[in-house]
């Protein structure tokens, strides 16, 4: 290696060291950790406080605190008249609120539907259809649903009719079976009764003949004749009584038998009814499932056609600036008209609330407070504060990114509890932020008083 070469290498090596050092300077950090090894941290609260718009945040917060204080220190009615006036006022305010919400909901629906109809007509025009997109398909879908419902109802009726016929048949059969069984039992008992009658007659036959022979004797004294006749009558009475006892027992037996058969028949009928009902339900469920699947397939096909038509129309509109402009115009017109109506209705609603508060304050001889209006005002201010804070934080984050890149930091934390080798870039960011113009427009003076749920949008509900 000659001297020139060595000198060149030395020069280049020095240059390399200088370059590295410069690189470190350019990025505000050294590779050996003197600038925190590429990590920084920032006190976000401090930076946000340095933002030109932070005073607006404070103002909004002060207004919120003030309104909350007013709400907490509302005058409390002392007398019955005052309490009644407050209750009446609150009831009237609630009615006014309800009317306002209903009115606005109706107008939102109206403008939403009007916009949807106008847009659909324009889409149809763009796709060359004669009717608004979806109208014909809607009719088709409705017909499919109606037909399916009718077929299902017919099937249901048919099954119920078959069920009725089957159960009537079961009832008739059970009745016949029971009739036959009861008849057989009755015949059996009657035969037993006849046999018993014969047995009794046979048993008393010789005594009866003997008594009858005595009666044929003409010499029989009147007293004896009366005695024999009495004995003969006793035999007949006794036999008749015994027969009657048997018949009564048989009748009771037959009644028990009949009752048992009827219970059995009712249970069998019920079992048949349950089985029939289950079978019918199973069949209906199966049919319903089948119908639903068919409907789903058919309606899905229609849905696909509808989506395709909408896509075609939208594609046609996308290529047609005139149509696009018309859709925007429809939307803007609807939005503008709704907003005018909303603002008008809101002003009237707020006026109504104020008048109600005044009216009932006069009745109560004290200043009553509209807590809902106060609450709405607090909510609106809080929303403004949130928006403003978010905008400030977004700007701050962007500036932190700039500072971090300039300093060669790979990561920047906030909310740190303590620092070691990491670099605190808060001051740098504060300076950068303080230099920003107060570009975010303030809206703290235009806090709307209306209910928060009444955002002026025709399509939003």
């Amino acid at each position: 290696m000659d001297v020139d070469l060595r000198a060149s290498i030395r020069a280049v090596a020095v240059a390399a060291c200088v370059a590295l050092a410069l690189a470190g300077c350019t990025h505000g950090a050294s590779p050996f950790g003197s600038r925190g090894g590429g990590a920084g941290y920032v006190d976000l609260d401090q930076v946000v406080q340095a933002h030109p718009l932070h005073t607006e945040l404070d103002t909004l917060q002060a207004q919120i605190t003030l309104l909350n204080g007013q709400a907490q220190n509302a005058p409390v009615p002392q007398t019955d008249v005052q309490r009644q006036a407050q209750a009446d006022m609150e009831a009237q305010l609630a009615i006014a609120d309800q009317q306002f919400q209903t009115q606005m909901n109706a107008r939102r629906t109206y403008y939403g539907q009007r916009e949807a109809a106008a847009t659909a007509a324009l889409q149809a025009q763009a796709s060359g259809a004669s009717a608004p997109i979806g109208q014909q398909l809607g009719v088709q879908a409705q017909k499919i649903q109606t037909d399916a419902m009718k077929a299902f109802t017919d099937y249901q009726k048919q099954l119920f009719q078959a069920d009725n016929q089957h159960l009537q048949q079961v009832a008739r059969q059970l009745q016949q079976e029971d009739g036959l069984k009861i008849g057989a039992r009755r015949a059996q008992l009657e035969k037993q009764e006849t046999d018993y009658q014969i047995t009794l007659a046979k048993q008393s036959q010789s005594q009866r003949l003997n008594l009858k022979a005595q009666l044929e004797n003409l010499n029989l004294s009147a007293t004896d004749r009366q005695q024999v006749e009495s004995q003969l009558a006793n035999i007949e009475t006794r036999e008749e009584s015994m027969i009657n006892t048997l018949k009564a027992r048989d009748n009771a037996d037959l009644k028990t038998y009949e009752d048992g058969l009827q219970r059995d028949a009712a249970a069998r009928y019920n079992a048949a009814r349950v089985a029939s009902m289950k079978q019918t339900n199973d069949m209906l469920q199966a049919r319903q499932k089948q119908t639903n699947e068919q409907l789903r397939t058919q309606l899905s096909g229609i849905g696909t056609q509808y989506q395709q038509q909408v896509a075609n129309a939208n594609a046609a509109i996308a290529k047609d600036p005139k149509a696009r402009a018309q859709i925007d115009k429809i939307h803007n017109e609807n939005q503008a008209q709704y907003t005018i109506e909303f603002q008008k209705a809101l002003a009237s609603y707020q006026q109504t609330r104020k008048q109600l508060v005044q009216k009932y304050s006069a009745i109560a001889h004290m200043q009553l407070q509209d807590d809902v209006a106060l609450g709405n005002e607090v909510q609106a201010l809080a929303a403004q504060r949130r928006d403003l804070y978010a905008k400030i934080v977004a700007q701050v984050q962007s500036q932190i990114g700039v500072v971090a890149r300039n300093d060669g930091l790979a990561v920047v934390f906030t909310n740190v509890r303590g620092a070691g080798k990491a670099v605190d870039i808060t001051d740098q960011v504060v300076k950068a932020i303080a230099a920003l113009p107060a570009a975010v427009p303030s809206s703290s003076s235009s806090a709307p008083e209306g209910p928060s749920s009444t955002t002026p949008s025709p399509s939003g509900s």
Binding site: A13, G38, V42, T65, A404, L409, V416, R417, A422
Partner: protein
């Protein structure tokens, strides 16, 4: 030969310059962050939250019915029972979900060789956003297999504030500030009554200033002491910085005991 050698060295210089910022960043490439709100927004978490809300509402109704006509001590006992029921339900619903999320975070962190994962809210610039990977991992079917290796030593520390708050001197400071705040709030309400709007604005400003003064008097000295202790520990352990444990999701270096030892 001579020219080629010099050119090679010149190229090395250019490369050194080009690579310099990356060399700076090597220390902090192992820091990840995750959007915990996005995990909380997953359908299974939302469903569990809804279920828990319903259970809480029902429990509140049951509690009201249970304390009717009961003595003060019975009411307190019942309150304790119901709170336990709520806590048990919360564990039952959320523990499996949180466990799965934690395993997913550990797995993604291991795959990306991260030494710490923190909540997205505390990283303003840089760091590796692993939210998407974590959500994908949680959404996968079946069991998530946890990583074999533990996270590598991290240059980011974390401290458990709840342990610091439990120190007697911290409790005393918090109580003193709370009492002052209560006293000032009562005064504020009295002062606001019957005043005009302009007067009320001034009164509220005075209240805010008084509250700040109280905070400086009661809380600030201890806060300064704690922050100094944390910074001292960070420097001693050659850490980049220390975050709150509430913001740390996975990994990191726990310095709580060192900090407690310094401020006790």
């Amino acid at each position: 030969m001579h020219i080629r050698f010099v050119s090679a060295i010149a190229f090395a210089i250019v490369a050194a310059i080009a690579l310099a910022p990356q060399a700076l960043a090597t220390d902090v490439l192992d820091i990840g962050f995750v959007d915990q709100a996005a995990i909380g927004g997953l359908p299974q978490f939302v469903a569990a939250q809804q279920q828990f809300s319903q259970f809480r509402a029902q429990t509140a109704r049951d509690f009201q019915a249970a304390i009717k006509g009961k003595s003060q001590s019975d009411q307190q006992r019942i309150y304790g029972d119901f709170n336990q029921r709520l806590a048990a339900k919360q564990h039952e619903l959320f523990d499996p979900l949180l466990g799965r999320a934690q395993t997913a975070i550990a797995l993604v962190a291991a795959q990306k060789s991260l030494s710490i994962v923190v909540d997205k809210q505390i990283v303003i610039f840089g760091g590796q956003d692993i939210t998407k990977d974590v959500l994908t991992t949680i959404g996968q079917q079946g069991v998530i297999v946890p990583p074999v290796q533990t996270p590598p030593p991290s240059s980011i520390g974390y401290v458990d504030q709840t342990q610091i708050d439990a120190l007697p001197k911290a409790k005393a400071a918090a109580d003193a500030f709370q009492a002052a705040r209560q006293r000032l709030s009562q005064d504020l309400n009295k002062q606001l009554a019957g005043k005009s709007q302009a007067e009320q604005v001034t009164i509220v400003q005075q209240f805010n200033n008084q509250l700040k003064d109280e905070q400086k008097k009661d809380i600030q000295p201890l806060n300064d002491e704690i922050q100094k202790a944390i910074s001292d520990v960070a420097k001693k352990k050659k850490l980049l910085l220390v975050v709150d444990q509430a913001d740390r999701v996975y990994g990191g270096t726990d310095v709580t005991s060192d900090v407690l030892a310094l401020i006790k």
